[in-house]
């Protein structure tokens, strides 16, 4: 336990215990990076089923581990929204102490790659970073379950708030970052058939192949019968 309270007001207010200048000079400046990629934000779901959105987290410009906690701050009342991985505690060894951190996931500093990363650890993905290359990223899935009783054609707004924090800050004000992610989920009918056709130039031979075969068979049959009949008549 740490005791800081003083009994009487004094003239000097210590807002923090600054580290020695020499030690600071030898440290690399702390870079707290919070990088995300959000794919499709417009989702569809059939009432009674679930759909899934995804947010990727990576850390190629930082030199500290980014601890990220996610929270559903907006969703339709009767819809269920689950975040995977869920909020959980991890124990972190920091400066010789074991610290409990509550997070959904964390993004460790990783190197940027010019080529797609093939050796991808389980649970991570090789993410294409626009204009820069590829990086290992940690996905978080936003699973939306809609009750069967929900009407078709309803659009539900879902907002996920992400808070990024970093350990080891001793200043008066620690640095944090936040970011919101919006998803729009629309209920739709179950699609029972889908038909995508390769375009042809007015007429597509492949499209009509079964009927062509049927026609050829019929022609051969008719021709054979005609030939047989003609032969009998001539004979």
């Amino acid at each position: 336990m740490k005791l800081i309270r003083v009994g009487l007001p004094i003239l000097i207010f210590t807002l923090l215990l600054a580290s020695p200048a020499v030690a600071l000079a030898q440290e690399e400046p702390a870079k707290y990076n919070f990088a995300t990629a959000q794919g499709a934000s417009n989702l569809q779901v059939i009432p009674g089923t679930e759909t899934k959105g995804v947010i990727y987290f990576y850390n190629i410009d930082g030199n500290r581990i980014t601890h990220i906690s996610l929270e559903v701050v907006e969703a339709p009342d009767n819809w269920e929204v689950e975040i995977d991985p869920p909020l959980h505690d991890i124990e972190v060894s920091f400066g010789g102490d074991i610290i409990t951190v509550t997070e959904n996931l964390h993004a460790e500093p990783t190197e940027l790659s010019s080529e797609e990363i093939e050796d991808v650890p389980e649970g991570m993905v090789s993410l294409a970073i626009p204009n820069r290359g590829y990086a290992l990223a940690q996905p978080a899935y936003i699973i939306v379950r809609v009750p069967e009783s929900e009407d078709v054609g309803v659009t539900g707004a879902i907002k996920i708030n992400a808070v990024a924090e970093w350990l080891g800050q001793t200043g008066a004000a620690a640095i944090g970052q936040t970011r919101d992610f919006d998803f729009s989920v629309r209920t739709v009918y179950e699609i029972t058939e889908e038909q995508i056709i390769t375009p042809g130039e007015g007429f597509d031979t492949g499209k009509w192949l079964p009927w062509i075969i049927l026609g050829v068979v019929a022609i051969v049959a008719i021709a054979s019968i005609s030939a047989l009949a003609l032969r009998r008549r001539e004979g």
């Binding site: 309270r5 000097i12 003609l230």
Partner: protein
């Protein structure tokens, strides 16, 4: 086989080829996306649904009024999230009819209600409904964030009727080029806060606010030494320094402690030389003279939006109040939503009192203390505002004094984008915009902070949290 039978067979074969009866499905190119024309409308335009779908009636296009179809999903307009280049060969399947009519399919963008064609192909139609397959090549087909992919069909010669039912013929649809990015695009944002002090926002030690309105900036000392070069008001030379290795950066403050002057680093020329943005000011001679001592202070945090960020962003700041932590530790077995047990605690001796605030740092819940014992705190109202509102074994906690004398309101903290406190903005608990960034470009912004301590404030270590964010505009 006779000549007659052969002729009959050929005639039947030709008839089979000429009058096909029904289609069989095949798949589209992988990596491309289809949009199906519908007869559902959005304002003056029709919708084309991404992925699947069709309409309930035919759409007639007169020779005087082209029709625009705007990208949608499940019947709702779908704007591009980011800048997307959709140039390339679009595959078009058009089920249509129109005696002596020509249908021209344009593919392009819709912005502010105006359609712009990026490529087109004209197809001659017939009186009978038929599916036509052709390509529309678009060039310079860049869709800005917030704008829409769109297609327009115009008719010449006679009215054209577009079949969007797909009942007897194929649906009418367009398929994006295989190499085109996925629409509406992945939003990527990378935001880095560089803290030169490696210790959070560091205000050092402050006097209480009196008539002199005591203030200090985030003045963590970053590097020290003495000037070894010729006299200069803008160039600092220290033959023993390792400025680049130490991470000295533009925006940091150099203080000539010998004469009391200071300036801002403009460039780090080498391991041993810095150039200031302007001449030293505020000192007795405003000159680096041989032997003058200097210190370099971080002065600011640097906010960086990475070049991969593909949307325009607003860079913002907010803060929590700063308060004194009376006690901290981790919860032991026996803790709950209304009690905190810490066998290592010494709450009474340390001065924890009723009405102080206990904070569960693990789940971010808080409660007002109603009873204090040596190793146990009780808060009968229960924890609230957190994810589980319960102290579980191992949860981190802190206790803060509820009295205003132990809390510095966030409005006493200020920020600015230069090192002059004049014109600095008071912080609040809600986000305020610092600056903006442009999609696809690296953006760097230094931010300085100051803190004023209100009079009557109790001495101690005050801590809080400053939040920064880069969000899509």
């Amino acid at each position: 086989m006779t000549k007659r039978s052969i002729a009959v067979a050929l005639a039947l074969l030709l008839a089979a080829l000429a009058f096909p009866l029904a289609p069989s499905p095949v798949m589209a190119n992988p990596g491309s996306q289809p949009w199906y024309l519908t007869d559902f409308t959005s304002g003056a335009d029709y919708l084309m649904d991404r992925g699947s779908g069709n309409g309930g009636a035919e759409v007639t296009i007169t020779t005087t009024t082209p029709i625009v179809w705007v990208a949608s999903l499940s019947g709702t307009d779908e704007a591009s999230n980011i800048v997307l280049d959709m140039s390339g060969d679009w595959s078009v399947t058009l089920s249509a009819k129109g005696n002596k009519a020509n249908a021209t399919v344009h593919i392009g963008t819709l912005s502010g209600g105006s359609f712009t064609s990026k490529g087109s192909t004209t197809q001659a139609l017939t009186a009978n409904l038929q599916s036509w397959g052709f390509t529309v090549t678009t060039t310079d087909h860049s869709i800005a964030a917030g704008d829409y992919l769109a297609a327009q069909i115009s008719a010449t010669g006679a009215d054209a009727v577009i079949d969007v039912l797909g009942a007897t013929n194929s649906d009418s649809y367009i398929i994006s080029p295989t190499a085109a990015p996925d629409y509406p695009g992945t939003v990527t944002i990378s935001f880095t806060v560089t803290d030169y002090g490696s210790a959070g926002i560091n205000f050092g030690s402050l006097d209480p606010n009196t008539s002199d309105n005591a203030e200090t900036d985030q003045g963590a000392t970053f590097d020290t030494g003495s000037h070894t070069g010729a006299d200069s008001s803008t160039v600092l030379i220290d033959s023993s320094a390792t400025f680049q290795t130490d991470g000295v950066a533009p925006g940091m403050t150099v203080v000539n402690t010998t004469d009391g002057s200071s300036g801002t680093v403009s460039t780090v020329d080498s391991e041993t030389q810095l150039t200031l943005a302007s001449a030293l000011t505020g000192g007795s001679d405003n000159t680096f003279q041989s032997g003058d001592s200097y210190i370099i202070q971080s002065g600011a945090v640097k906010l960086t939006v990475g070049a991969e960020t593909n949307v325009n962003c607003s860079i913002q700041i907010k803060g929590d109040a700063l308060a004194i932590t009376i006690a901290s530790g981790t919860a032991d077995s026996g803790s709950s939503s209304t009690t905190l047990v810490d066998a290592d605690g010494d709450f009474v001796t340390n001065g924890v009192q009723v009405d102080d605030i206990v904070i569960n740092a693990t789940d971010s819940s808080t409660a007002t203390i109603t009873a204090v014992a040596a190793t146990q705190l009780t808060f009968s109202g229960g924890l609230s505002g957190g994810s589980d509102n319960t102290f579980q074994t191992g949860d981190a906690y802190s206790v803060r004094e509820a009295s205003p004398a132990y809390t510095i309101d966030i409005g006493n903290a200020k920020w600015d984008t230069d090192s002059d406190v004049t014109g600095a903005t008071a912080m609040t608990g809600t986000y305020a915009q610092i600056t903006t960034s442009t999609a696809g470009s690296l953006t760097e912004q230094a931010v300085w902070h100051w803190l004023t301590v209100p009079s009557g404030q109790v001495a101690g270590d005050y801590t809080g949290m400053f939040y920064y964010q880069a969000i899509q505009q």
